[in-house]
């Protein structure tokens, strides 16, 4: 496990060469990849969303496809289609953009809802159905979608069912002054993406995903996750709370975070660390929340304060909220 944990850290280091000063975000994206999830990057233009996705594909040696979602992109561009062969006797499958390991859906909210919906099956089951024939997409399969929160004219909001399929939603944010100076220096006469080295092979990622699956979770952590999620469903200002799929996403993200920290067990701080990223985009507020300008972030902070993390004793003494089995 230690070897693979080091490799994971190396991936973060490689991506960090390109996306400077955002190590925290990079590690969360990697955690989502290792937890077999999909990532929604929501931020202003030019902060490095696409660059980050490309850097990941390079560092992890994944076959990647990028599709710029525009209003005229059709579902067949995404999932593929059947073409009548020259002899006119049979149909040949022409794969769509999703037939890759890392699918970058750029500006996903700029396309029509029917094209957005074409991703539903792939994201949930890792399968593509075209003309009643179901095919598996290559493994590992990760969707990194980007969307721009400003300039919403001519955009289509992602439906809740689609949002729920994204394991986490992240905002990269603007770099601090020191990082920005670093970016300016780095990009004078070269593309930093050229300096990203391959760290792992595709099979290594699959192995790491299996390791993440086997990370241990104590019963009290299950209870903690459930309590957090239930609070989102019971809050009087929340219309739609986190779904059971969201609970699973939270658990898997916590496992991946533990793995990246070099542990084979989850501690409550792993759950707290990813809770807002996993839950925020799954929550819909009631109109009443507009009074007092309550945001999803405020409510999730409240929930994290109210639900106390469990205390677990390790070998007779109190561990730092940890558990070793």
């Amino acid at each position: 496990m230690e070897v693979y944990n080091e490799k994971a850290i190396q991936i973060i280091d490689e991506v960090n060469k390109v996306v400077i000063g955002k190590r925290d975000i990079i590690s969360k994206v990697l955690a989502a990849v290792l937890a077999k999830g999909h990532i929604l990057l929501e931020d202003n233009p030019g902060v490095g969303k696409t660059t980050m996705a490309l850097a990941f594909s390079k560092a992890m040696a994944l076959k990647h496809n990028r599709l710029q979602f525009t209003p005229d992109v059709l579902p067949t561009d995404v999932v593929g289609f059947h073409l009548l062969t020259k002899d006119g006797q049979s149909y040949q499958y022409k794969p769509g953009a999703v037939m890759c390991n890392l699918f970058l859906a750029d500006e996903i909210n700029r396309t029509s809802s029917k094209t957005q919906s074409a991703l539903l099956e792939i994201m949930e089951e890792g399968k593509v159905t075209v003309d009643s024939i179901t095919r598996d997409v290559p493994k590992p399969f990760v969707v990194i979608a980007t969307q721009n929160p400003i300039g919403f004219i001519g955009t289509m909001m992602l439906p809740e069912s689609q949002l729920d399929r994204f394991m986490i939603r992240l905002s990269i944010g603007y770099p601090d002054m020191k990082s920005e100076i670093g970016i300016l220096k780095e990009r004078q006469n070269s593309n930093p993406l050229d300096r990203v080295d391959k760290v792992v092979e595709r099979d290594d990622i699959l192995l790491m995903q299996n390791m993440v699956e086997n990370v241990f979770i104590h019963d009290s952590i299950y209870e903690y996750i459930t309590l957090l999620v239930q609070q989102t469903r019971e809050n009087p200002l929340i219309e739609l709370g986190v779904s059971p799929r969201g609970s699973l996403a939270l658990m898997n993200m916590a496992k991946a975070t533990a793995f990246l920290s070099g542990r084979d067990y989850v501690i409550p701080s792993d759950v707290r660390y990813v809770f807002k990223d996993v839950a925020a985009h799954r929550i819909i507020l009631k109109p009443k929340a507009r009074v007092n300008n309550i945001t999803v972030d405020n409510l999730l902070d409240d929930i994290l304060r109210i639900v106390r993390p469990p205390k677990i004793l390790a070998k007779g003494r109190e561990a730092d909220y940890g558990f070793r089995y």
Partner: protein, 415 residues
């Protein structure tokens, strides 16, 4: 605590007296122990004080009037020493009503070693507004209550107390209310069907209507171009909520009634699908603010704006301010909700272009009968001049008593 200190000093003096009196080894030890005890207690208290974590939380940020607001103070003691006495003082005040009075609630809690105590309490506000709840201090005592240290806890909780609002079932508008009024304002975010204003020019997309093709531009660009028309932000109805108050007598009652009345009308219009403006005077910005109410989100935006503004005692003529900001607006119906009627205000109301103008007068006099259309208020409106003016201007006047806004509004017959 001062008494406890005196008592303990008395105990030390007594122990010292015994030690001198008996000149015994054990008595000397007893005296030293009694004298050293406060030092040990103080050391323990400082240790606990430094490690104690206090958090002030509430999951409720918006409540209805009269509903309880659960607030909890979470005290986490990670030390091995239990804490017997913690004095928690909570302050709360309604900032909307600008009352100087700050209420306090004090309670004692104890926390076991290495554990967390959750002290919960509930507050209730009888009036709408913005309640600010803060922890003015958490005082930690030693076991003998000789010493205490005050821990500062930053942060406050803001809870919005919503005024009551009802769905009014009767006909609120005259038959002509569905008339579409022309508007100079267009949506900046949404395209519509008004061909007089072009919202955007864009490339052709599958499913676009042929009528929308911009043929000239398409020829120029050598590809089909579409013109999107604008969405006019027209409203045929406006509700003006004048939160001006003449005096501080019965201030909360009158303010609540004004809010209740304006919001009930707006809420009922919203439910009936009648798009309208809800306008009020924002005393912070010194101008009128209005929100076009189409959905529940807009309605609560307006509630937020009203609660953020609050009542005012200055002589503000809302209709005049509104007219100066939107001189070209026209309406079929104008509702003016107020507690003050003067000749000047009636004049200002005439400026605002509306086919029908209605004043809903919030009557704060007790035992005053609620009368509909002809039920003109006596005290403020008993002046001959004002009555003549109202009759001349053709403004309809309705009176609603603060004692029962719902019944008052239900009994009004606008048609």
């Amino acid at each position: 605590m001062f008494r406890n200190k005196l008592k303990y000093i008395a105990v030390i003096i007594f122990a010292g007296f015994l030690a001198v009196l008996y000149n015994d080894y054990y008595m000397g030890i007893l005296f030293l122990a009694v004298a050293a005890c406060p030092i040990v207690l103080l050391a323990v208290l400082i240790y606990i004080y430094l490690r104690l974590e206090v958090e002030f939380t509430s999951v409720v940020h918006v409540v209805n009037k009269g509903e309880t607001m659960p607030v909890s103070v979470q005290i986490h003691n990670p030390t091995i020493f239990p804490v017997a006495f913690i004095n928690v003082t909570v302050c709360f005040s309604n900032t909307f009503l600008e009352q100087d009075k700050e209420n306090r609630q004090v309670f004692y809690v104890s926390v076991d070693s290495r554990s967390t105590t959750n002290a919960s309490f509930s507050l209730k506000s009888d009036y709408a507004g913005s309640v600010i709840i803060s922890l003015s201090g958490v005082r930690v005592f030693d076991y003998l209550k000789i010493f205490s240290l005050k821990k500062k806890v930053h942060g406050e909780i803001k809870v919005a107390v919503l005024p009551r609002y009802y769905e009014l079932t009767g006909d609120l508008l005259k038959n002509g209310s569905k008339i579409q009024i022309e508007s100079d304002y267009y949506s900046k975010t949404k395209s519509g069907d008004d061909p007089s204003e072009v919202f955007a020019i864009r490339e052709y997309r599958e499913g676009d209507r042929l009528q929308r093709i911009h043929w000239k531009l398409s020829l120029k660009q050598d590809q089909l171009m579409i013109k999107d028309f604008s969405e006019p932000l027209n409203c045929s109805v406006v509700i003006m909520a004048d939160l001006g108050i003449t005096g501080r007598d019965r201030l909360p009652d009158i303010t609540d009634s004004l809010l209740e009345c304006a919001l009930s009308l707006s809420y009922s219009f919203m439910l009936k699908g009648q798009i309208h403006y809800l306008a009020w005077y924002d005393k912070k910005q010194r101008s009128s603010r209005r929100i076009r109410i189409v959905t529940e989100n807009d309605f609560f935006d307006a509630v937020d704006g009203l609660l953020g503004s609050g009542p005012y005692f200055d002589i503000v003529d809302l209709a005049a301010v509104y007219y100066s900001q939107y001189p070209n607006d026209q309406y079929t119906e104008l509702f003016y909700i107020t507690n003050i009627i003067t000749e000047e205000r009636l004049d200002s109301l005439i400026w605002v272009k509306a086919a029908d103008r209605r004043i809903i007068y919030i009557n704060s006099e007790e035992h005053s009968p609620v009368k509909s259309h002809s039920g003109k208020r006596q005290s403020m409106l008993n002046s001959e001049k004002l009555s003549v003016k109202i009759a001349e201007t053709g403004i309809s006047l309705f009176s609603v008593n603060v004692s029962d806004i719902k019944a008052g509004l239900e009994s009004l017959n606008f048609n």
